[in-house]
């Protein structure tokens, strides 16, 4: 099977390791991965901040970049939700991309039909289900099932898991105090589990939480799910 990777702008510029991990994981599972270089950003930051006009060229670019691919895999619930839920308001052509876009865990569980991806990650992990993956895509138990199947991994339940971490795109800078208060509560909950890794499937949330964690001395780091799933005994992830 051949798929297109929609790496997302945040991963391209700031978290390339997540993109590399996604490629490694998919290739390990026998999937041929393409990276259409015309892709940039899905337009969600512009759209959610109220700049619809500025969103349109990015919608057209994204739709064009993935033309002809039956499966477009995105390691971000938020960007997948943007394409699936908001692209239809930009016309029929844009609407056509939605059904072909798969958030990474959807692709693994629903299309490939795997939950044990052969990963090895000997750490105590807690999982934060980001809001758009949770509520707009309905990812449900998929991420947890994938994590539970990872050899050596101890998954511990995050209290208040379904509460927003406070990132919210431009919300983080428009309402910095409330955003930071939400982030601090999320970190407190994560620390209470005793986990060393706070896993998420959306690096934008982890950018916010990781940025808060890096000011603290806590033995907790934020890590994208793809990087855990890419890790094997032969090639452990750093």
């Amino acid at each position: 099977m051949r798929v297109a990777l929609f790496v997302t702008c945040v991963n391209d510029a700031v978290f390339p390791a997540t993109g590399v991990a996604t490629v490694r994981l998919l290739e390990r599972l026998g999937v041929e991965v393409d990276f259409p270089a015309a892709q940039t950003c899905c337009g969600q930051p512009q759209f959610n901040t109220g700049y619809r006009e500025e969103t349109e060229p990015l919608v057209r670019r994204t739709v064009g970049a993935f033309e002809g691919y039956e499966h477009v895999v995105v390691p971000s619930g938020s960007c997948a939700a943007m394409v699936r839920h908001h692209y239809p308001s930009f016309g029929a052509e844009a609407a056509g991309l939605g059904p072909r876009v798969y958030e990474l865990t959807e692709f693994l569980v629903d299309v490939l039909g795997v939950t044990d991806v052969g990963a090895y990650f000997p750490h105590k992990v807690t999982y934060h289900p980001s809001c758009h993956g949770l509520r707009m895509l309905g990812l449900g138990e998929r991420p947890r099932r994938l994590l539970e199947a990872v050899k050596g991994l101890e998954l511990v339940e995050l209290p208040g898991a379904e509460e927003c971490c406070g990132f919210g795109g431009t919300f983080a800078v428009k309402n910095p105090d409330v955003s930071a208060a939400m982030g601090a509560d999320k970190i407190t909950n994560a620390l209470s589990t005793g986990a060393g890794v706070l896993c998420g499937a959306d690096n934008s949330c982890l950018l916010h939480l990781g940025g808060m964690l890096s000011r603290r001395e806590d033995p907790l780091r934020a890590l994208h799910l793809a990087e855990i799933l890419a890790s094997t005994e032969e090639e452990p992830w750093q």
Partner: protein
């Protein structure tokens, strides 16, 4: 907060205070989490919740689509039943109508049933200026009124107060409004409730005029419905000689049958009860029972403007249950007062800017008072897609080009250009990676400072993903 580049100062400024108030944070956290958990259990009991939610949405949508027809039908039915209907285009007209009606009775005091519509128009303040004392009789509204405070929640207006604070307010203030609090009042809930009961009882028995809102108005019979927990509403609706109800025009439903849906979804969504303790229904007047005179003031006050907005009109489906407030992570931290309106929380963030417009700083900032997490939409018993309306209102505010938005629009355009030119994007990414050792963790300047006051900037990678791909896979 300077925040002119990306932020609207009003909500963020007010929230800044609330976030720093440890007592308030603790009160709100405890109260919202308790109600939200109870609501989840109450809703989970019903197998047909999703169907009820869809039915509520459709009934409201169909009614709003033919609102003119149902309002005229309601007016005819209320008039036939002996009531008088008044139409108020805005708050000033509604206040004038109510004041004239009270003055015509010769009375100088009224008792009130908890009502969002009368708070929205500032009726109590208007009556006070006209020499008429309006006594709130809902326990929480009494706490707010005695404390010279503002409500911070639709259903639980004194949610920001704990019982120690309530005891202090009762002890200090009850005496100047009527019967004082008993000597040595403790903060035990039963004692506080008894103090309120004794204080209010003399008001109920003396009042000749009652003022209420309504949860529903049934067009086919002209029946009004008030749903409540404490019985104070029943007192106000039945004991006075004159009853005046101020109700938003969106509260009409076509038939009694429609109540079947809302009388299930409202109590479970609001107080997490299967059925609320008191449901009062009245149709005009009766010779031998209840008020002899009944006036219904139908309030527009921005509702027809909201109705004209194809996306925004869904906010008029709201049945004021407050479930969205109780699950909202922003409300939990910012508190109700930060929203600058009697309608706080997610529903307030979409209702207030539609009712009042977006010309003031606070109103223009409300659509941004959300992380778009969607918890509100998930619990809404009439399926209002609050995130959708928030984004729609952001478009409106950004399009008006108010404070900060011209600069923001320019930044969005510039970012959009880069993102529409992958070579320029790659060049920017490479520059950021090449200079990564020089990057500070904190940055000055609008936008950047709001980020880095609370969080480190990330370490930039050695190369962007697209360069890794080019080197390793092509």
């Amino acid at each position: 907060m300077s925040g002119t580049f990306v932020g609207m100062p009003s909500f963020p400024e007010a929230a800044h205070e609330a976030v720093g108030d440890a007592t308030l944070r603790a009160n709100l956290r405890h109260a919202t989490h308790t109600i939200r958990d109870k609501r989840a259990r109450a809703v989970a009991e019903l197998d047909d919740w999703a169907a009820l939610r869809e039915a509520g949405k459709r009934i409201k949508d169909d009614t709003l689509r033919h609102l003119d027809t149902y309002l005229v039908r309601l007016e005819q039915a209320v008039t036939r039943a002996g009531g008088t209907v008044h139409w108020a285009a805005d708050a000033a007209e509604a206040n004038r109508i109510v004041t004239d009606l009270v003055k015509a009775t010769g009375e100088t005091e009224v008792v009130k049933v908890k009502s969002m519509a009368t708070q929205e128009i500032g009726l109590n303040e208007h009556l006070e200026a006209e020499g008429i004392a309006a006594y709130e009789t809902d326990l929480a509204e009494l706490i707010v009124q005695l404390g010279e405070d503002r409500p911070s929640h639709i259903l639980v207006p004194a949610i920001h107060r704990n019982r120690g604070e309530i005891r202090d307010i009762f002890t200090e203030k009850m005496g100047s409004w009527g019967r004082p609090a008993p000597e040595g009042l403790s903060d035990a809930p039963a004692e506080l409730a008894e103090a309120a009961r004794l204080h209010l009882r003399e008001k109920f028995l003396r009042a000749k005029v009652g003022i209420s809102g309504a949860n529903f108005m049934v067009a086919e019979t002209g029946t009004l419905v008030v749903v409540e927990s404490e019985g104070n509403g029943r007192m106000c609706l039945t004991l006075p000689e004159t009853l005046i109800s101020v109700v938003g025009i969106e509260k009409v439903v076509p038939t009694w049958r429609d109540l079947e849906v809302f009388l299930q979804t409202l109590p479970r969504s609001s107080t997490a009860e299967r059925m609320n303790p008191y449901t009062s229904m009245w149709t005009g007047t009766a010779d031998d029972d209840g008020p002899r005179t009944f006036h219904l003031v139908l309030l527009d006050n921005g509702r027809t403007d909201a109705l004209a907005d194809e996306v925004g009109r869904q906010a008029l489906r709201c049945i004021r249950c407050s479930a969205c407030l109780n699950v909202c992570p922003v409300y939990e931290r910012a508190g109700g007062h930060a929203y600058g309106s009697v309608y706080p929380g997610p529903i307030g963030a979409i209702l207030t800017p539609q009712l009042r417009g977006t010309t003031s700083e606070i109103d223009a900032s409300l659509p941004y008072a959300s992380s778009l997490c969607g918890a509100c939409y998930e619990v809404c018993p009439v399926a209002i897609d609050i995130p959708e309306v928030l984004v729609h209102l952001r478009e409106k505010v950004a399009g008006e080009g108010g404070k900060g938005h011209r600069l923001e629009k320019a930044a969005m355009k510039a970012a959009g250009w880069v993102l529409d030119h992958p070579n320029a994007l790659a060049a920017g990414e490479r520059l950021a990676s090449a200079t990564r050792k020089l990057h500070p963790k904190r940055l000055p300047g609008p936008g950047a400072r709001q980020w880095s006051d609370h969080r480190d900037l990330p370490d930039m990678p050695a190369e962007p993903f697209r360069d890794w791909w080019r080197k390793n896979r092509t």
